[in-house]
Symmetry: C2
Subunit: 141 residues, 2 copies
DNA sequence: TCATTAGAGATATAAGGAGTCTCTAATATC
DNA sequence: GATATTAGAGACTCCTTATATCTCTAATGA
């Protein structure tokens, strides 16, 4: 059981977009080069993020993507739900009510999710930005 | 991203074995019937649990499986490690030190694991046993 | 010796992840 | 209005993993 690569790409893309100047658009070409991906592949991921309302797209020449207006509220969990779906990690396949094992697994998953919900992308972006200003080199996300 | 069915089968098998009378052996045949699985498939899972030291096997006629002597200390996480491996759920594939995104993902995973580590199989077994005694019917794990 | 049981290995099938290619639709610029 | 540029949809390929099944071997009690 592992998070897909797509989730990693999505998270990095989101932080990158948050760090852009207000209202500026970034094309999939640039976003793909940054992460050494093919544009068509990344565009599939970007479409998911768009449909989830996390970013906004503008088609046509000089088009591209920008972060959604709700950027101050976007959590890690929001991005992960967009790429991984929001089904639970564990379901007891044996049909009966109130499986005690399932209950434990659900509680554990909830603990992970509550952490991911409390972490906002904008906080990571600001932390990366301040580190970058201090160090003059390196990339922190 | 989901836990494999094998993990579900392993957890149920472990709780079932804990509830057995001391030193009694249960064959893979019985364990498989209980969960509506083929014996050969379940035996692959049982082999993993054996190699992880969570259960002990006795080959030959009248052989079978019993819970390991450390049964009072076996956690959910121990079983999950045996079936799923113990690699982390997320790795930032972009090569650089101290990725802030990775750090958040690791912390979230740690929160889930600490819950799974604190939950012991024997507690679930006892809870299921007492519920079963009270209700006369039904299965609680 | 024989029946019973665990265990190893090869193989089969299906699903999902990862990625490419091609076509369509929208839009700015000339 | 023509053209270049960009997002988006759909079909397709390739690879890995999960989920088994079948067969053979090894150990052991009766």
């Amino acid at each position: 059981m592992r998070y897909s690569n797509a989730t990693n790409y999505a998270l990095h893309t989101m932080v990158h977009l948050i760090l852009q100047p207000r209202e500026s658009l970034v094309g999939v070409q640039e976003l793909a080069e940054m992460q050494h991906l093919s544009p068509t592949y990344l565009s599939k991921i970007l479409t998911k993020l768009t449909k989830a309302g996390l970013i906004e797209s503008t088609p046509g020449a000089k088009g591209g993507y920008k972060i959604s207006r709700t950027k101050h509220e976007i959590s890690f969990l929001d991005v992960i739900h967009a790429t991984e779906g929001d089904t639970s990690l564990f379901d007891c396949s044996i049909h009966h009510e109130g499986c005690l094992i399932e209950k434990v697994m659900w509680q554990a998953e909830e603990n992970m999710k509550s952490e991911l919900k409390s972490k906002l992308l904008i906080d990571i972006a600001k932390e990366a930005e301040s580190k970058q200003n201090g160090m003059a080199t390196g990339r922190f996300f």
